[in-house]
Every structure is written in C-alpha cells, then in structure tokens.
C-alpha cells in the first residue's frame, strides 16, 4: 500500500483517485488547459541547520531539465511540503511530471554549484525578520526554528548528500499528485523509489516557560502561540480578528494594519500568529492594546464576536463548495500528503457550527498561556517572562580571558565551549552543535540546537592559538555540521586592543612605588648630607627632630593622592 491509508474522498464527489507508479493521483476534470502537480511530504523544517537549503536545492535541480519548456510550471519549497506544478496541454503535463519524477532519481549534479549560486542570489535581500526571531526563540536552531536562519547549509552540502536526501524524501510514500482530467493521461509515469513515510517536522521548544517575550521590535508587536489544532482554534483566530479590528483600529487608532493567522502544524498543534503594525508613534500603545485585548479574551468571548467569526469561516467554506472540484485539488493534495483530515464542506460546516463560546474561550487561554511576544519593550508587567538569553548548560574547561574586555572569557572544555560574561554564560555543547562555521585563520562560530551561538576569535583571547582551537574544538565537532568558509580579508580579522584603563592602572602602580622609593631615598640622602655638611663646615647641629619624617609622610600622601585619587579605584 503506497500511502499510509488511502483517504476517504466521500466528501468530494467530483474527485477520483488513481495511481501512477505507486503514487496516488487525484483526478477531477476542468475546462481548458490542464493543471497538474505533485506534492512531497518534505520541507525546510525537515532539514537540519547544517543541511538547510537542501530541499530547495533538490527542487531546483529537479526542474533543471525544464528550463526550455514553454509550459507554465514552477516548484515551491515550503516549511513542510515541496510542490511541483504545471499548467498546459496533456502532453506538457505528462512530460513535466514524468521528467520531475525521473529527475528526482537522477539529479543533474553537474549543475550542482550553479544551482547553489542561484539559490544564494535568490536568498539575497530575503531576511528572516521578526518571524525568524520568533521561530528561533521558540524552536531553537532545529525544525521550524530553521526559518530564522536562511539556507546556511548550502556552503557545505555535498552532491552525495543531495542524492541521498532526494532518495529518502522524494519517494512514492511521501507523494501525492493531481491532474485536472477525469482519467490518467496516457504516458503518465510517476515511478518513484519506495521509502519511509515521513511525518511532520519535529516540533522543538527551547522556551523555558510561557507566556514569554522578546523586545526590540521597532514598528509594532507580533506574537505566535501554539494551540490544539481544530475548529475551536480556527474560530478563536476569527474572534481575535474581530476584537482587534474594533479595539486597535476602529475605537483607537493604534494599529495601521493587523493580521491574524492560523497554521496547521501536525496532528496535535496549530500555530496562531498575530502581527500588529502600529500607527505612527503608537508602538507602545499597540503592545499594550494587544495585551489588554488578548488578556480580556481569556475571560470574555462575546456571542456577537463569535457569530461574526463563525459567519466569516462559513463563508469561506461556502466559497470552497462553489468552486469546481478541480480547483480544490492542490489543497486536497496538500492535505492528503500531510495526513490531514479531508472534511468536505458539509462536515466542516457542521463542525464550525458545533463550536461553543466556551470552546473558544478555552482556546483563548491556550493562546495566552503559550504565546511568545515580540514587542518594542519588556512586557513583564503583563505577567510574561523574558525569553531565555542564556543557555542553562555550562561547559567546564580551560578559560581564556579576552584581551580587549577582561570581563569576558571563553571556556573550552571536552564537552563544549562557552562565552562567559558577568551576566552569565552562553554554552554550546559539542553533542548539541548543529553548525560550526570555520575560517582558516582559526575563528569559529558554533550554533547549538537551542539557537545560542559561541564565537571564537583566537586573536581576541589571551594565550589561545589556532592550534588550540583545532585540537580542542575542531576535534570534537562532527565534520558533517562544519561549514568551511574561505579565508577572510585580513582586515576583517579582529585585533585585540587592551583597554586603556587597565593598562594605566598597571603602569601607575609600579610608577608610584618607584617614585616613592626615589622620594624617600632622595630625602634621606639629602638630609644626611645636609647634616654632615652642617657639622663639618659650620660646626653646628641641625636640630630638625621629626620634621623631615613628617614632611616625607606628607609628600608620600600627596603622591598617592595625585596618582590614585578619584577615578582609578
């Protein structure tokens, strides 16, 4: 049996299910050009930081042979699926799908570097932004958290890895195709290797308690929350939309724009996202307003707001019901390949109708309790805790003091490395290292699975040599997470300048001692000499008593004051 359980398409009477080369194919006819595609259960969140970009690279390589085709075609790599699609004649569709499947089994690896360059230039100007920050802080440098990094693995992925990834992920068990005809087109051959059915991306969580917040977002406030997937959560997002439009836009001109999203993650959870773009100069009010609105929804979900949200959702399902079956196929294929429910309109409507205000209230509390906020300033006043800024683990080992900032040090041990400051420690354990970037001058950046990074710049630490780094760090980090970058411009290698203040104090303590010795010696010699001269040449005794000694003590105090007075201590 190819896919875990062939889905029940009873709710979609216009859609038939066929099979080609072991891959399920959804069929529903439509007028005019044919549309077709194939979706795979693999996306960026299935990668690791050291292989990030590999799915996108496979997608590009698989389409490499299509560059001259005149059909309308494309491929997309998403977080949890990769989709290839085409529109054209029956011949176009067959040739495209056959070619993609064939190509996935024999990727044009001679184009490997060219495609990497294309991906790098596509990535330019694409920034992970605040969503990336939310993902990294919730999930770390794994799974969904990789969205915060960009395709960092491109600089190290090998052709062999790409071939293996394609063979493991782009299999018939992980694929669903569709064609907008009533029968399989002649010549269609979706032969793909057999493999293991993939699940949803692993859901990692590095937050140590929620609700939590990050600060420093300039122009508004955003958050994401994890809730049990399903219609109550979907309706809760609708209610939030109603309330925010009223509280932050209609009644108070706090938000310039706002969006509320719902994203199904896996069998258990969905992600609710809220983004409020503040009106000019109203960033603080946007954060406060959103906190008050969501805080209030923990206690009150009005029937009116629920009715409005329900109506909007039902309208969506009605629109979907009115669309020809063929138009639903990309979304059906997506739902099938990700193992989601295939509720038709009638079942969806019934489920939406069934949700009560209490169900939605329960979701509001889940949203509140699991939220990670990102606003301009701390939100501790609303009962949230700051997202972790330090790693809980502590590497033990040899400590190297930083030359230009003696408060800071680097610890290198047999289990990991750490940056130590007065505020605490950031550690990356070798066993948890998901990426190490290396340059020939000995600098290293290690990223841990929790997203924390330790930077090693050998020139900045006292008695740390490149050989030390090679012997004590490189040796323990698995080569398959290491990215070797080319040599840096010598100007980019930092030079440690010892802080002036520390140097001056060190010099002046010695200088003071020297001066005091000179002072006492000089004065004693002078007085002894003066006494001798007085006795020898004038025959008188100099009766100065303790006076010279007092003068010496006073002079000593003066010297100490002058050299170590205010400021230095």
């Amino acid at each position: 049996m190819s896919i875990a359980a062939l889905p029940d398409l009873a709710d979609f009477p216009g859609v038939a299910l066929a099979e080609s080369g072991g891959v399920p194919v959804l069929l529903a006819p439509r007028e005019g050009n044919l549309g077709a595609g194939i979706a795979f259960r693999v996306g960026t969140a299935h990668e690791t930081l050291a292989t990030s970009g590999i799915t996108h690279l496979v997608e590009h390589l698989a389409l490499r042979g299509q560059v001259l085709s005149e059909a309308h075609l494309n491929g997309h790599t998403h977080t949890d699926v990769t989709v290839f699609h085409v529109a054209g004649s029956a011949a176009d569709v067959v040739s495209y799908l056959n070619d993609v499947c064939a190509s996935l089994q024999d990727l044009p690896l001679d184009q490997f570097e060219t495609e990497k360059d294309i991906l790098r230039s596509e990535a330019e100007g694409r920034k992970p932004g605040f969503v990336g920050a939310l993902r990294v802080n919730r999930h770390g440098a794994r799974g969904y958290g990789l969205a915060g990094y960009g395709e960092r693995g491109l600089d190290r992925i090998t052709p062999g890895e790409v071939r293996q990834w394609a063979a493991r992920m782009f299999t018939r068990e992980n694929a669903v195709a569709w064609v907008t005809t009533d029968a399989l087109p002649a010549g269609l051959d979706l032969s793909l290797p057999s493999g293991e059915r993939m699940g949803p991306p692993a859901r990692t969580d590095v937050l140590q308690g929620t609700p939590a917040y990050l600060c420093g977002l300039g122009d508004g406030v955003a958050l994401d929350a994890m809730v049990p997937r399903g219609y109550p959560a979907l309706l809760a997002t609708g209610v939030i939309r109603e309330v925010l439009h009223r509280d932050l836009r209609r009644d108070a001109d706090v938000a310039q724009s706002l969006s509320v999203s719902y994203e199904h993650l896996d069998d258990e959870l969905a992600r609710v996202g809220i983004v409020v773009q503040a009106g000019e100069g109203r960033q603080d009010a946007a954060a406060g307003g959103l906190a008050d609105a969501l805080g209030g929804l923990r206690f009150h979900v009005t029937e009116d707001d629920l009715a409005a949200a329900r109506e909007a959702l039902l309208e969506e399902t009605t629109e979907a019901a009115a669309a020809p079956a063929a138009d639903l196929m990309p979304s059906l294929a997506y739902r099938m390949v990700t193992g989601r429910d295939l509720d038709g309109v009638a079942r969806a409507r019934a489920a939406v109708e069934e949700v009560s205000a209490d169900d939605v209230l329960g979701m509001m509390r889940e949203i509140w309790a699991s939220a990670l906020w990102y606003g301009p300033a701390p939100l501790d006043w609303a009962g949230m805790t700051p997202a972790p800024e330090r790693s809980p683990a502590l590497a033990k080992g040899r400590s190297y003091q930083r030359i230009d900032a003696p408060d800071l040090s680097l610890v290198i041990g047999s289990e990991g490395v750490g940056n130590v400051s007065r505020d605490g420690v950031v550690t990356v354990l070798f066993a948890d290292c998901v990426l190490m970037e290396a340059v020939p001058d000995g600098a290293r950046v290690l990223t841990g699975g929790d997203g924390f990074r330790v930077v090693i710049e050998p020139t900045l630490y006292r008695s740390l040599s490149v050989a030390d780094v090679v012997a004590s760090v490189d040796r323990y980090v698995p080569e398959d997470v290491v990215v070797h970058h080319p040599a840096r411009d010598p100007q980019d290698i930092p030079v440690a300048v010892p802080p002036k203040k520390a140097g001056k104090v060190a010099r002046s303590v010695w200088g003071t001692v020297e001066r005091l010795i000179a002072l006492w010696f000089g004065v004693i010699v002078l007085f002894a000499g003066a006494e001798a001269v007085a006795r020898e040449f004038f025959g008188t005794e100099l009766r100065l008593g303790f006076l010279p000694l007092l003068a010496l003590v006073a002079a000593t105090v003066q010297v100490l004051r002058k050299r170590h007075g205010k400021g230095d201590r």
């Binding site: 706090v254 109203r282 603080d284 008050d292 609303a382």
Partner: protein, 328 residues
C-alpha cells in the same frame, strides 16, 4: 485666637478622607488597620472619583518599608476577596509602597537600586490591575491607577493615552484620571507643554456644565508656575477664574471627593497669582477640612502657607465685600 504661625501643624492637617463620603467610617477603619471594613464602606460608593480618593487615601497610609507599612500591606492582601475593588486596593497599595521607595525626587536623584525596587512594586501592581481589567474591562477604578503605573514603568505616552482613553470611554468625567494623565504628558515626565495644554483644553471642551473637566486648567497653570513662570499672566488668571465658575462654583456642580481637590488647587493658583479675593471662596468651601492637592509643590510643609494664605484671603475678601464697588 492663635495665629497660624503658632498653630503646630499636625500630621493630619490635610485629611484626604475629609471629603470622601462616609469619611469618618473610613478613617476609623484605616486607623484600626482594618482594610476589610474600609472596603465594605467603599463598596457603597458609585462615583469613580470618590472610590479613587478613598482607595488612594487608604493605600497611602504609612507607605514604605517600615514594619507598620509591611503590616498594612499584609492586611490589604489578606482583605483581597477576589472582588475587583479589593484587588484594585491591593494594586494601589503596591503602587504607593513603590513610590515611597522611589521618593518623589527627580529621576537623577533616585538610585538604581531604588528604581529597581520601585519598578518591581509597580510591576506587581500592574499584573493585578491587568488581570482585573481583563476580567472586568468596564471597572473604572482599576483603569485609573493603570495610568500611574504606565508612567512609573515608562510604558510610553502612547500607552498611557490608550489607558486614559479606555477609561474615558467608560466615564469621561473622572477628574483623578485627568489629573494623572496630565502629569504624564508634562515636560517633567518627558512630555511637552503643548501636548499638556492641548489635553487640558480637550477636557474642558468635553466637560458637561458644572462637571470638573475645566478644573484641570488650574493644575496646568500651577505646573507652569512651578516650572519657573513666576509672574502669572493676567489672561491665565482670567482663564482659571472662568474655569472655577464653570466647575466647582457652578450651580449644577455635584460634589464628589474630587471637588475638594479642585477647590484646593484653585485656592493655590489664586494665591500664586496674588488674587486672594478669588482664592477665598475655595478656601471657604473647604472649611476646616483642607486637602493637600498641589500645595506640597508650594512648600514641603504645606500646612503652614496654607493657613497663612487662607487667612490673608479671608481678610482680603472681607475688605473687598466691605467696600462694594471697589475692585480687589
């Protein structure tokens, strides 16, 4: 009769409960250290300005970190029965404790440690108020201290304004709220005179006849004077005279605890403006129960000048009425 200079000022010269309904019962509960009894009295009040005055007066008793203050805090916490009123009192108590630690000095004279504790207490207060306002969004008395916590926690002018607007949407006539928001937007709290005076005019324009909205004009004028504008412009005196007539002296004015605050600030303004005849009706209205208002700005031992100026105003008014037709 002893002159004002002879009268030894007592700690209770200004009694914040004097003009609160059932003030005597509240005073008794306060003196007995019984917040539960005090809350029972406040529960009978409906005017937000009365409730605010009562809550702040109770919470502001022996603030700081003394044993006595800690006992009061504990008693107020113990009296928290989960009602929005009791929770609000608890939060306001946290605010007054925090503010006592911070002291009323300008920020540059407050140590980092003081600020840390101050913010800690305000956060505690704010968390309580945040939950009360979440659960009871229409409960005006909990919104009022949130304007003050926003200021102390430096949540920004936009946030303070949003809170004031939420409150004003529920009840546009809460004078205590207008006063604290006005403080927020003054230059000393990194606002501006323009913004503050715009707000004052906004409150005046929106005020119903006889309500206190226009009385903020006096607060604003006193702040200007305090900032160094020693000679009060005559247009300003006219404006405040007009405000007094439209508010506390208006026949439709309904007395609340805030009436006394407005009177004492009017009296202070006319004192500063050297218009004792205008000050007198306000002193007179307060009778033998003065309230402090902004008099502590005038002098740290405000009771002394209050009595001196009150006597001067009484004399000037008597003189003016003895010679009808001669302007004072």
């Amino acid at each position: 009769m002893a002159t004002t200079r002879d009268a030894a000022p007592t700690a209770n010269f200004f009694d914040p409960l004097a003009h609160v309904p059932d003030g005597a019962a509240l005073r008794a509960a306060r003196d007995a250290g019984d917040p539960t009894a005090a809350l029972a009295v406040i529960r009978g009040m409906i005017v937000p300005d009365d409730i605010a005055a009562a809550l702040w007066a109770l919470a502001d008793t022996s603030a700081g970190v003394t044993d006595e203050a800690q006992q009061l805090t504990a008693a107020i916490e113990a009296a928290d029965d989960g009602t929005p009123l009791a929770r609000t009192l608890r939060a306001i108590r946290y605010v007054t404790v925090g503010w006592a630690i911070r002291s009323h000095a300008r920020a540059e004279h407050v140590s980092a440690g003081q600020f840390e504790q101050f913010h800690d207490w305000l956060r505690r207060a704010e968390r309580v108020l945040f939950d009360v306002c979440s659960e009871h969004p229409d409960y005006v008395p909990a919104w009022e201290p949130r304007i003050t916590t926003a200021r102390g926690l430096q949540l920004g002018h936009g946030e303070a304004r949003r809170r004031y607007d939420r409150l004003a949407a529920l009840d546009p006539q809460v004078f205590a709220a207008q006063q604290v928001y006005h403080q927020q937007i003054l230059p000393k709290w990194s606002g501006s005179w323009e913004e503050a005076s715009r707000f004052v005019e906004e409150c005046a324009a929106a005020a119903a006849p006889g309500s206190l909205g226009s009385a903020l004009v006096a607060d604003h004028a006193i702040e200007r004077w305090l900032d160094g504008e020693k000679k009060v412009p005559s247009a300003m005196v006219d404006r405040v005279r007009e405000a007094a007539a439209a508010t506390v002296l208006h026949p439709d004015h309904v007395r609340t605890a805030a009436t006394a605050t407005a009177h004492t600030n009017f009296a202070l303004f006319f004192t500063i403006a050297k218009a004792p005849v205008d000050a007198w009706p306000h002193f007179e209205a307060l009778g033998s129960s003065p309230v402090e208002g902004m008099w502590s700005y005038y002098d740290l031992r405000a009771e002394v000048p209050y009595q001196v100026q009150r006597d001067l105003a009484a004399k000037a008014a008597a003189k003016a009425s003895a010679r009808p037709g001669v302007p004072a």
